[in-house]
Subunit: 453 residues, 2 copies
C-alpha cells in the first residue's frame, strides 16, 4: 500500500520559502533558490502559497523557466498568472514548448495573444500545431508530439547512425525508439535504439525492426491510451491517422499526467470539486462554486424533510421516532456509497460493463441482505432496550429495506449515468443519498405508522 | 478533463469472453483468443469475471504468461489463484520475473513454496533478491530492478558500444540510459543512449556523461519517488545506498503502478474499502469487511441519536423540529466533506503543510461563513414560510454554526490524523460526519429549546 503521508520534502520546501518571504528576505537570494528548482517544482511551490506570496514568487522566476512553470500549474492558477503578463512575455514563454503542450496552452489564451503566438511560429510548426489542435485535447491526437524522428525500412543501420549523429542536438529527450515509415509516410514499425547499437551496422532497418506494436489511432480517448501504456509497459508509441499515416508520437510523461489527472478527477468530483481549481483561489470565486454544490444537496435534504412531514401524526405520537430515524438513513447512505465507490472505480478501470453488471448486482444485493439482517438485529435489539420491542421491530425492518435499496442503487445509478454520458463520480453520490434518505425515512416512518398507531 | 467513461474496448472484450464461456464454446478457440492478449489484459479479464468463469480462464492461460498475469492481478485475486497451483507451477511462473516483482510476489507465498522459489535461483540472483527484500515494499529500494548495465567514466564511447553489442540480448527493455559508476561501484552519472550514438566514438564517457540527475536514496518513500519522476519527466533513475553505492534502477513502468495505486487507495479508503480487494470475492468475505465499516458508522449515528434524545421536550412540543433537523446535519456534512477532500488531496500531493495550513484554514472558514449566511437566509426563509419565523431564525442560526464548524473540522481533522500517522482518507470522513451530525443537531435543537420553549 502506498504511503500518501510522506511529503516531508516538498512541504519543507514550501515552508522555507514562505518563511523567507514573511521575514522580508532580500529578493536576490530567494530568486537564486527558486530558480535552482525544476520548473515542475516551482509550479508546485506557486500552487502551494497564498495569493500575496504567489505574485512575488512568480516575478522572481527566470524567463527561461517561465513557460515550463506555466505548463505545470493547474488551469486556474495558470489563467491568473497569464492575466498579468504582457503579450511579448507570453510569446517568449511559448518558445520551446512541445506541440501538444502548446496546443493545450494556446486554447486558454485571449484571441489576440494566441494570434501573436501563432505568428511567432515558422510554417512547419504552424502546420504541426494545426494538426494537434484538430484533435480533442483528451484524445491520442491531443496528447501527441510532432517532433518525431523517422527512418525508412530499406536503409542500413549505419546510415541511421550517421543520420542521428547529424541531427545531434535535435533528438528529442527520452527517445528510446525510432519510428520506421514507408515512402507514403505510413507507419511500418519501430527501431529500438538498443537494437540499433547492438546489431551489425550493415544490416538494414527492416531486418531488426519491431512490428508487434500497433500505431495508436489519433481519436482514441486519452484514458484508453493510458491503459494501453500501463498494460504494455510502453515508453512511447506512434500515433496514426485513419489511413495509417504517421502523425506524431505520445511519450510516457504525458501519459503519467493523464493518469494523475484521471485519479484526481474522480476524487474531486465525488465531493463536487474540480481537479483544476486553485486551492488559494479568491474567496468569492470558491464560495460561489461551493454554494452551487450545497444548493444541489439542499434539494436532497428538502426532499427528505418533505417525506418526514407526511408522518407528522406518527412523530407527534411517538417522539422516539425522531431520535432513531437518522440511523436508518445514515446506515443506508454508508452501505450505498461503498457499493457506489466500487462501481465508479470499476467502470473507470473497465472492470464493469453490461456483461458482468448482473453478477455484481446479485453479489451486492446478497451482501446488502446479509448486512441488513445483521445490523437490523443489532439496532433493533438496542432500540428495544432503549424504548420498546415494537419500535425495535420497526427500525429492524426499515434497515433491511434500506440496505437492499442501497445495494441496488449503488450499482444501477452509476451504470445509468454512464449510459446518459453523465460523470458517475460527480452526480452518483447526490442521487444515491437522495434515494437512501428518502427510502430510509419512508420505510421507517411508514412502518411505524402501520404498526405503532 | 479526462474522460473516465470510455472503456468500451475493454468492456467489449470482457463481454465476448463471458458470452463464449456461457454458450459453452469449446476451449481450444477460447484458449487461442485468450493467449493472444498481453498478460496485463488477461489479468484485467480475470479480475472482471465472476468466480466460476475465472477458474476456467485461468486454466486456459499458457504457462509462459502465467507469471506475468499473476503480477498484474490484485493481491486478493492473486492469492486465490496461487492457492490452487502446485509448487512446481509456481516456481515455473517466477522464472523470468524482475527482482522487484519477484520480491513482491514471494512475500505472499507460503513459506515452503517461497523456499522452493529461492532455491531455484542462482547465487547472484539470490543476493539481488536479498537486497531488494531488505527494503520496504513502498520505498525506492523495494521498487528497484537490479539488472543494471554500468560503465566506468574513463572508457571511450566506442568501447561502450562494443560492450553493449556483446551483451546484445541481455540489455533490459526500456533502456534509455546507461549508469556510470566509479571503481568502488559508486554512482557518478548517466550516459544517454542517444549521446552514445551521436558523439564521436573516440570521446570518453566522462566527456558526455550527465551529472545533473542525483541518485535516489533506497529508503525514499515510493510516493516521493513518483513525484520525482513526474516533476522531472524521468524514464529511469539510479538507486543508491547511504554511501552512494549503486544498488539498482527504477523504471517508469513501476512508477506508473505506484501512481495508479496511490490514487485508487485514496478513492477506496474514503469509502472504507481497500484497493486490493477482489470485486468478485466470496460474499461472506465481502460482507464481513463491509460490516466493520457499517459498525464504525453506526457509532456515529448512535451518538447523533443520543444528542437528539437530550431534546425530547422540544421535539414533543414542536414536531417541525424533527422535520427540519436532517437539513442542518446534511448541509454541514456536505460542506465539511468538500473541505476535507481538498485537504486530503492537498496533503497527498504535498500542497498542504504546517506553513500554509493557517492561510487555508482562514480561507475555508471565510467560505464557510459566507455560504453559511447565504444558505441560512435561504433555508431560514423557506422554514419561515413553511412553519413560522421563529423556527426560521433557529434553523438559520444552526446552519451558520454548523458550516463554520464543518470548515474548521475539514482542515484540522486530516492534519491531526496525519500527525498521528493515521490515513486521513480512511478515518477523516467518519470523524467529520460525527462532528457535523452532533454539532448540527446540538445547535439546532439547542437553539430551539432556548428560543422556542
Amino acid at each position: 500500500m502506498p504511503n500518501t503521508n510522506m511529503e516531508t520534502h516538498k512541504s519543507a520546501r514550501v515552508k522555507s520559502f514562505i518563511k523567507a518571504l514573511e521575514q522580508g528576505a532580500p529578493h536576490p537570494p530567494v530568486r537564486l533558490m527558486l530558480n535552482s528548482l525544476h520548473p515542475a517544482e516551482i509550479a508546485h511551490l506557486i500552487e502551494s502559497v497564498p495569493l500575496t506570496h504567489r505574485e512575488i514568487l512568480w516575478e522572481l522566476v527566470n524567463s527561461e523557466s517561465g513557460g515550463e512553470v506555466l505548463l505545470h500549474v493547474n488551469d486556474e492558477v495558470r489563467a491568473s498568472l497569464i492575466e498579468k503578463m504582457e503579450t511579448t512575455e507570453i510569446v517568449a514563454a511559448t518558445e520551446n514548448m512541445d506541440m501538444d503542450d502548446l496546443a493545450d496552452f494556446i486554447k486558454d489564451l485571449p484571441t489576440t495573444v494566441s494570434f501573436a503566438v501563432v505568428n511567432s511560429l515558422d510554417k512547419q510548426d504552424r502546420q504541426r500545431l494545426q494538426s494537434v489542435l484538430s484533435y480533442d485535447e483528451d484524445s491520442a491526437g491531443g496528447l501527441m508530439n510532432t517532433d518525431t524522428i523517422t527512418v525508412r525500412p530499406d536503409v542500413a543501420l549505419e546510415v541511421v547512425q550517421r543520420y542521428l549523429r547529424m541531427q545531434h542536438k535535435k533528438i528529442p529527450a527520452n527517445t528510446d525508439k525510432i519510428i520506421v515509415v514507408d515512402q507514403a509516410d505510413r507507419y511500418v514499425g519501430l527501431l529500438n535504439i538498443t537494437d540499433l547499437i547492438t546489431h551489425d551496422p550493415s544490416q538494414s532497418v527492416s531486418e531488426v525492426l519491431v512490428t508487434s506494436q500497433d500505431g495508436i489511432p489519433a481519436n482514441l480517448p486519452a484514458a484508453q491510451v493510458a491503459h494501453l501504456f500501463e498494460d504494455r509497459d510502453l515508453l512511447s508509441a506512434p500515433v496514426i491517422d485513419e489511413n495509417g499515416k504517421l502523425l506524431g508520437r505520445i511519450t510516457i510523461d504525458d501519459v503519467v499526467d493523464v493518469i494523475r489527472d484521471e485519479a484526481d478527477h474522480s476524487i474531486m468530483r465525488m465531493a463536487g470539486l474540480d481537479e483544476e481549481d486553485d486551492m488559494f483561489a479568491p474567496v468569492v470565486v470558491s464560495t460561489k462554486r461551493r454554494a452551487v454544490w450545497l444548493g444541489v444537496n439542499l434539494v436532497t435534504a428538502l426532499l427528505a424533510s418533505l417525506v418526514i412531514s407526511f408522518f407528522d401524526t406518527a412523530l407527534k405520537a411517538k417522539y422516539q421516532l425522531a431520535i432513531l430515524m437518522p440511523i436508518v438513513a445514515s446506515m443506508g447512505g454508508i452501505a450505498g456509497s461503498q457499493t457506489l465507490t466500487l462501481a465508479i472505480r470499476g467502470i473507470a478501470l473497465g472492470h464493469i460493463g453490461s456483461s458482468n453488471a448482473k453478477s455484481l448486482l446479485v453479489k451486492e444485493i446478497t451482501i446488502g441482505a446479509l448486512n441488513g439482517v445483521l445490523w437490523a438485529l443489532a439496532v433493533g435489539g438496542l432500540s428495544s432496550w432503549w424504548f420498546d420491542p415494537v419500535t425495535g421491530a420497526v427500525i429492524a425492518g426499515a434497515i433491511i429495506i434500506n440496505l437492499l435499496i442501497a445495494a441496488l442503487s449503488g450499482i444501477t445509478i452509476p451504470l445509468a449515468l454512464k449510459k446518459l454520458n453523465i460523470d458517475p463520480a460527480l452526480a452518483g453520490g447526490v442521487i444515491l443519498t437522495t434515494v437512501t434518505d428518502v427510502i430510509g425515512f419512508l420505510a421507517f416512518l411508514g412502518l411505524a405508522t402501520i404498526i405503532l398507531l
